[in-house]
């Protein structure tokens, strides 16, 4: 039957995030105390034992993620100190400095018994990094991060044995990508694709120019993306009401696709990265009044690649302007969390969002129908062509049971149960009924999770389900 275990006082301060490893045998936790702890499951008894802990960042840690096991035991963390760091488990069973790969920096731990070593610090972000997630393992050892400068960054590990050098493969200003753009002529497409701006896979010469270009662009982008905030009186770094979240599509059949929420707009963009093209927005999930919303892919490369070109501000165009309207209309609540369900063989994708307006939304996103010739990513071009057909999305569930500030949504491994947690102190579970309707499947009070509460809270029987 259902059992519970409790890790009491896991951290000195509030915990911020946790991630299981691929097998569910390790749990990495992090918190505001800037430390990472790794717990291991004793399978026979079901208890969790602390395996290692260390101070990892110079500020509170925001997210933690575990890479696929095929790359080894690797953790990535993002933090308010504007860095993403990569950690690797080191075997110290052999005598010291036995491992050629481990020689770089083992000093980060508290002492020599630390079995996790810092491998890389990714310092590109100009704002606090709010989320980090490894790409599905089919695409290699890659990760995406989103920071409050509204830049989505894709890093790729260049040398896997050492894990030390990570290349910034892509950098996209999320706000500058139009949510949906009118189709432009094919002429502009061909022009756009001929300019060598993409450096994702090849390690050779072209990276030189494009990296500087992207850095310059990044500067401009930063100025731009801060521009809306300048409308607000005040000083200092203020990013209180935004939401920065990412979720990779777990499938490999559609290329590298990420759902990104950034800033205060309340729009989740589904962005596709491909080696030959600039990132493009396939879809924008926007919770408007209407129940279903769909938007075609932005096929217009001429308008989409704001992050790369010097003319980014102009290229942003109408899509950018619409996202800035928040200051006037004040209707959008930012999205704090997005989760992309493992597709588990279904013909559609499920994306859940948690928003500050207290709503949990479940989107059903249909990729273009599979065509027989595009089998996986061997033939990228073929799958690219099918993308000319449209992705579309419909809102299949919208729940305001939390009523307040939904902090996190997470799917289980099959994408059949959604857990959402909000400031109402409940972890709510959502499940699809036979008829295909999403409904509440119960909830857990966070106090229920703690048998040691002081006497002021008693267990009162309540009808838990509305």
């Amino acid at each position: 039957m259902i059992q519970t275990a409790l890790i009491r006082n896991a951290h000195q301060d509030l915990v911020a995030d946790a991630a299981y490893d691929m097998y569910g045998l390790y749990l990495a936790t992090c918190g505001l105390d800037q430390r990472i702890k790794v717990w291991s499951l004793e399978e026979s008894s079901g208890t969790w034992n602390l395996e290692d802990e260390w101070k990892a960042h110079d500020a509170a840690i925001s997210k933690i993620d575990w890479a696929h096991a095929e790359f080894g035991q690797i953790i990535a963390t993002s933090s308010f100190d504007r860095t993403v760091r990569i950690w690797e488990q080191v075997q110290f069973t052999q005598e010291a400095n036995g491992n050629g790969g481990a020689s770089s920096s083992t000093s980060s731990g508290p002492n020599a018994t630390c079995r996790w070593a810092e491998r890389a610090v990714l310092t590109e972000a100009k704002g606090s990094v709010r989320a980090v997630q490894f790409a599905p393992h089919h695409f290699g050892l890659k990760l995406a991060s989103i920071s409050t400068d509204n830049l989505l960054r894709i890093y790729e590990c260049l040398e896997q044995p050492s894990l030390t050098s990570w290349q910034l493969a892509d950098e996209v200003d999320v706000l500058a990508l139009p949510t949906s753009a009118p189709r432009t002529s094919s002429l502009s497409q061909s022009i756009a694709t001929t300019t060598p701006t993409q450096t994702s896979l090849t390690l050779d010469g072209t990276s030189t120019t494009s990296l500087t270009a992207s850095l310059l662009a990044a500067q401009q982008q930063q100025q731009q993306s801060q521009a809306p905030q300048q409308n607000r009186p005040g000083a200092g770094v203020r990013e209180a009401d935004g939401g920065w979240c990412i979720a990779w599509c777990k499938d490999r059949y559609w290329g590298e696709v990420i759902a990104v929420g950034s800033g205060t707009s309340g729009v989740i963009r589904i962005i596709q990265f491909s080696p030959h093209r600039r990132p493009q927005t396939l879809l924008a999930l926007e919770a408007t009044g209407s129940n279903s919303f769909s938007s075609g892919i932005s096929n217009s490369l001429g308008r989409s690649g704001g992050s790369r070109s010097g003319a980014a501000g102009l290229a942003g165009g109408s899509g950018f302007a619409s996202s800035k309207d928040d200051d006037e209309h004040n209707t959008a609540y930012s999205v704090t969390s997005v989760a992309w369900a493992p597709s588990c063989g279904r013909s559609f994708h499920l994306i859940a969002t948690g928003s500050r307006d207290g709503k949990v939304r479940i989107w059903k996103v249909k990729p273009p129908p599979p065509s027989a010739n595009s089998s996986g990513f061997d033939d990228q071009d073929a799958s690219m062509d099918t993308l000319e057909e449209r992705w579309n999305a419909s809102l299949v569930g919208e729940f305001d049971d939390h009523k307040t500030h939904v902090g996190r949504v997470e799917w289980n491994i099959t994408g059949t149960v959604l857990a959402s947690s909000g400031n109402d102190g409940r972890v709510r579970l959502w499940k699809q009924t036979v008829g295909g309707i999403w409904r509440s499947a119960g909830h857990v009070s966070v106090e229920q999770a703690d048998p040691s509460l002081p006497g002021d809270v008693d267990m009162a029987e309540n009808t838990g389900v509305e």
Partner: protein
């Protein structure tokens, strides 16, 4: 307006469970009893002309309050003195007066702000209006109050510090925490000044200009140098060490995406730092009904060098890429190929040094990271306080607030960020506060390996299992260890299942009928009973964002009314948290994991049937599908192969058989193998059915008038569908159906019907009728008797039943039959319609509707009947045209609703995969989909969906660490394909793509490709050189000979003749780190030795290379 202080709430400065609510002319002291829980009014004091007050943190007095008047006087009051006054007669409790002026001035002088020092509780800072000659900022020593309160006299208060030069009104003062020396003061004219009491009194240490008047301060208990000020609509956060500009300044506009409406006229009425959560600042806007909380996060300072370090980093990577490019062309110095070996300096080191330097500089920047608010109250809030807590990182933090109507409420805010991590095994880790709760279903049993599962459980299960079991055991002879169960398993398992699932294991439900109705949950909520009694009008806790804890209305006007909350009756009856969440134990994740551990799979279909039946007892859809798989193998094939006269019947459904099948696309090949099959020379193991199979002479008896036979082989009947049908029919008639069966309607497609019926395998005979009667399925028996025109027997059977309902129904039936179809009047019909709607038993429903309306359409739409039964009815009683449209509609219906039973109609055809896809869409049971589709993919059809199901299932198994089960699944798939190939149903193919490629370092072309070894090109190739550019392959670092690649074709030839040639010795291995390597045999000998040396070598065999290659292998 400013003459009176509005309601203001202050929590005890030393964090005890007391608080003061002051306002108007009254100060009340309350105590919070968390155990009960309740608020108790301790004392109430009347104070006139009160302007502001402050609570001393003096450890000797819990109740010492300084009250500033608008007359310029300050009273020191012990609030509880009135309580003890009865004995000691101290009067009003006023223990001291401070007069800020000489008394000569007639003009009233407001005391604007008071603040006690926490470090030295006798210090009281006073900010007041500016009156000529007097300082507006004064720090008093109210006296080291030792002994009783009466010792403190007016005169004992002395000025410690005053700043007379200050030319303006001081609107707010506050001691900084942890120091008795530094006071922050807000001076009208928009500046903040820090006064250091240690320096000379005339000189303010530092000052900062702010936008607006400073209404108050809040000090951060977690960061002594940080404080925050508010004025009008702006909150600023300061570092006391550098006041030149605020760390942060924000307005409520910064919460606009959190739903905050921003008005330029917004005025903050109070702010406070939380003592429970670090960096949490609570703000209250005037005339609002909620408190907003802000998260401040420290971050290392944003330095200019950060960008430069990035530049340097990219510089470094650019260098890296250049080196890589240049050094690519040489084998001889492999280190050059390796950027990490050639590069001595770490590429990221600049960034890291930058980071360490930033550590020393500890004035970091502050990030306004998050905001949220309490629930909205029904009245606007006058004042609030955050309740301190003894716990570290508690789950909730409490807020107490006083509303406009004087009610005091305390709420728990679930403000700790929560997150929920899902384990691949379906566990949920809930992180909140400082702790984790892990919820899930742990099975502590060791994992059962696939070969340990005993699938040959025969007890109580009749059926045609022999074939599959034969097949399985035939496979097992080639796998010697496969039948050896470890002693830990099999023991005590009478029915052959490993003891994974105990008897009270969660019932797993699957399939369309399972409805995960959310059950009642136990919820730890507030004290609903107490709350309801006290504030009936407050909203229910059910969904409120902050569950109400003790809530109590305290009438503001009451003076000494003591209110005691009702003790909760349920107190002490603390229940163990009870987890009953259907989402966990009915989830498909658990179902799939349980099933795979029990041996669910394609290799032993009867076992899978039993498994599905066991976990799915009340619904037969899935097990019917598996039964159909099992059954169709015997019905739809004549021998080892599934081709009959060149037509592939494998896994066809009713619809396919009914509509007719095409001859498959590979005539010459299949023709060949057909002849092989019929001659009985197939390489596959002999099957038990084999003896009855050869149906050649049977099939040849029927000549087809419709098909023009295009025989391209020995089979004269090749492509003759009717002949194939007849062959199959005669086979199954020989086994099961006695005598010729005749359909109830005229049909032009009799053989089609026969075969389809045999496939449906829904037998109707006296045995079945008797069995149903015995099993209590009288309705079913009566139904079928009626359909077969045996109405009298149907009535008999119902009459014999013990159930009264059945007996009544027999009467109804008798009447209906009596009246006959001709004389049914309208009333009767409408009565029967109503009756049909009320009947629970689906068989009675179809019975009545059939009898009354004499029409099959209602019968066929009865969804509650199993698909097999409906198909049996349709195939027996519907005419050809209706049947065709019915089958099509049924298939479409199943596709729409994800009803997996539809596979019986469509078979495992593309249409069937559509049904399977929508079944997966509904249930996410990708396991079953992967298995079922493996029967036909990739052998018979290529479907990308099937590949995705298999991929997903692989990933799931990997995540569960069930690698052996994954391999078993692949083995089973391979065996299915192998069987098909052996039987000649499927062309041999290269199923798995080449996974290992060797690239020439010079021409970058693939060396071990099969294409280049085609005849004519291989002769002049040496094995030790690149077949494309001819340059030598790298040398073995032990024997210094070039390594060689044996072309695939020649190796395969070798293997045909000798069994021991293909050893590892010829392979070559290379270290992934230093790229040295060579012949596997040599390298293995180098590292792992043959025992002469006590210690094996660890370093690379190449001189000067100190790579520890042995760890890389």
């Amino acid at each position: 307006m400013s003459s009176k202080v509005e309601k203001q709430l202050i929590w005890h400065p030393r964090q005890e469970n007391r608080f003061i609510v002051g306002g108007g002319s009254q100060i009340n002291l309350y105590e919070w009893a968390p155990d009960v829980p309740e608020f108790r009014l301790l004392t109430s004091s009347e104070v006139l002309n009160m302007k502001c007050f402050a609570w001393s943190s003096d450890p000797h007095y819990d109740d010492l309050v300084a009250i500033g008047m608008n007359s310029g006087k300050i009273d020191l009051v012990r609030l509880e003195a009135t309580k003890v006054a009865k004995n000691l007669s101290i009067g009003s409790g006023v223990v001291g007066h401070i007069s800020t002026r000489n008394g000569s001035s007639s003009k009233a002088c407001n005391i604007n702000a008071l603040s006690f020092s926490t470090a030295n509780p006798s210090l009281l800072a006073v900010g007041s209006d500016k009156v000529r000659g007097d300082a507006s900022f004064v720090v008093w020593d109210v006296g080291s109050i030792s002994g009783t309160a009466s010792n403190t006299k007016l005169g004992s208060a002395s000025i410690v510090y005053q700043h007379s030069k200050l030319g303006d009104v001081v609107t707010s003062v506050s001691f900084l925490p942890d120091t008795p020396d530094i006071v922050a003061a807000g001076v009208a004219g928009s500046s903040i000044r820090l006064f250091d009491l240690r320096t000379s009194s005339e000189d303010a240490r530092s000052a900062a200009q702010v936008q607006s008047k400073v209404d108050g301060f809040a000090v951060d208990p977690f960061n002594p140098s940080r404080f925050s000020s508010y004025g009008e609509g702006t909150v600023s956060v300061w570092d006391s060490r550098s006041l030149s500009q605020p760390l942060l300044a924000f307005t409520s506009k910064d919460a606009s995406a959190d739903g905050a409406r921003f008005y330029p006229s917004d005025v903050f009425s109070s702010i406070e730092f939380s003592t429970v959560r670090s960096g949490v600042l609570a703000t209250l806007l005037r005339d609002t009904n909620h408190v907003r909380l802000w998260n401040l996060k420290n971050a290392p300072p944003m330095t200019e060098s950060a960008f430069e370090s990035n530049e340097r980093y990219h510089e470094a990577t650019r260098e890296t890429s250049r080196t890589r490019k240049i050094s690519r062309m040489s084998w001889t110095t492999p280190a050059n190929i390796l950027p990490w070996a050639a590069q001595t300096e770490h590429p990221i080191s600049p960034a890291m040094s930058e980071r360490t330097s930033s550590n020393s500089n500890n004035t970091g920047s502050v990030v306004l990271a998050n905001t949220y608010k309490t629930k909205s109250y029904n009245r606007s809030i006058m004042s609030f306080a955050l309740v301190p807590s003894q716990q570290k990182a508690p789950l909730t933090s409490k807020i107490v607030l006083v509303k406009q109507d004087g009610d005091i409420e305390m709420h728990s805010m679930f403000d700790a960020p929560k997150h929920t991590a899902w384990s691949p095994r379906g566990d949920l880790a809930i992180g909140v506060g400082g702790q984790y709760t892990l919820v899930g279903i742990h099975d502590t049993q060791p994992v059962v390996e696939p070969w340990e599962i005993d699938m040959n459980d025969q007890n109580g299960h009749s059926g045609r299992d022999d074939k599959s079991l034969d097949r399985r055991s035939a496979g097992k002879t080639s796998k010697p260890h496969s039948r050896a169960p470890s002693p830990g398993f099999g023991r005590g398992d009478k029915d052959g299942f490993p003891a994974l699932i105990s008897s009270n294991a969660p019932r797993t439900k699957l399939g369309p009928s399972s409805s995960p109705v959310p059950e009642k949950l136990q919820v730890a909520g507030g004290l609903s009973s107490a709350k309801d009694q006290l504030t009936p009008e407050s909203p229910s806790t059910g969904n409120s964002p902050t569950s109400i804890l003790p809530t109590q209305r305290i009438p503001s006007s009451s003076k000494s009314q003591k209110i005691v909350a009702h003790a909760n009756a349920t107190r002490g009856r603390r229940r163990v948290p009870h987890w009953n969440i259907p989402a966990f134990d009915t989830d498909v994740t658990l179902t799939m994991r349980t099933r795979v551990l029990q041996g669910y799979g394609m290799s032993n279909v009867p076992h899978s049937i039993r498994l599905v039946e066991k976990s799915d007892a009340d619904h037969s859809a899935l097990s019917d599908v598996w039964k159909w798989i099992n059954h169709s193998r015997s019905v739809l094939s004549l021998g080892p192969g599934s081709r009959v006269h060149g037509i592939d019947f494998a896994y066809q459904g009713v619809l396919g058989i009914w509509e007719g099948l095409e001859t498959s696309r590979t005539p010459e090949f299949t023709g060949q193998l057909d002849s092989l099959d019929l001659a009985g020379t197939s390489g596959s193991p002999p099957l038990s059915q084999g003896e009855l199979s050869p149906g050649l002479d049977l099939s040849s008896t029927v000549a087809s008038p419709f098909f023009s036979t295009r025989s391209s082989s020995a089979d004269a009947q090749h492509g003759n569908y009717i002949a194939a049908l007849n062959a199959l029919n005669s086979q199954s008639e020989a086994q099961t159906i006695k005598g010729m069966w005749k359909p109830a309607v005229h049909s032009a497609k009799l053989p089609h019907r026969k075969l389809a019926l045999a496939l449906v395998n829904f037998k109707i005979g006296d045995e079945e009728i008797a069995r149903w009667e015995k099993e209590g399925k009288q309705a079913q028996a009566a139904c079928w008797l009626l359909f077969t025109n045996q109405g009298a027997r149907a009535i008999d059977i119902l009459m014999r039943s013990k159930s009264e309902a059945h007996q009544m129904m027999s009467g109804t039936l008798a009447v209906l039959l009596q009246s006959g179809s001709s004389s049914k009047n309208h009333e009767m019909q409408s009565y029967c319609e109503k009756l049909v709607n009320r009947l629970q038993d689906p068989h009675f429903r179809i019975l009545v509707s059939y009898v009354v309306f004499n029409d099959w359409s209602d019968v066929m739409e009865e969804q509650a009947l199993p698909m097999r039964e409906r198909l049996a009815i349709a195939l027996r009683f519907l005419d050809d045209k209706t049947l065709t449209s019915y089958l099509k509609r049924l298939a479409e219906d199943c596709r729409k609703h994800g009803n997996i039973e539809g596979l019986l109609v469509t078979g495992l055809t593309p249409r069937g995969l559509d049904i399977l896809q929508s079944y997966v869409d509904m249930t996410s049971d990708v396991q079953t989909a992967a298995m079922l589709s493996s029967f036909v993919c990739p052998g018979r059809s290529h479907d990308i969906r099937a590949e995705r199901w298999i991929d997903s299932y692989h990933d799931l198994l990997d995540g569960w660490k069930l690698f052996h089960h994954r391999c078993q699944f692949d083995i089973d798939r391979g065996k299915l394909l192998q069987d098909d190939i052996n039987a000649g149903d499927v062309l041999p193919m290269e199923w798995v793509k080449k996974q290992f490629l060797i690239k020439c370092n010079f021409c970058s072309k693939i060396v071990n490709s099969r294409r280049i070894h085609e005849p004519g090109t291989t002769q002049r190739r040496r094995a030790t050189s690149c077949p494309w550019c001819g340059r030598a392959l790298p040398r073995c670092s032990v024997c210094l000979m070039s390594v060689g690649i044996i072309p695939d074709s020649s190796r395969e030839n070798d293997q045909l003749h000798t069994s021991f040639r293909d050893t590892l010795d010829d392979a070559f291995v290379f270290c992934q780190a230093c790229r040295h390597g060579g012949h596997a045999a040599h390298i293995i000998e180098w590292f792992f030795g043959d025992g002469d040396e006590s210690r094996p070598r660890r370093t690379c065999p190449v001189a000067d290379c100190d790579c520890f290659c042995d760890q890389e292998y």
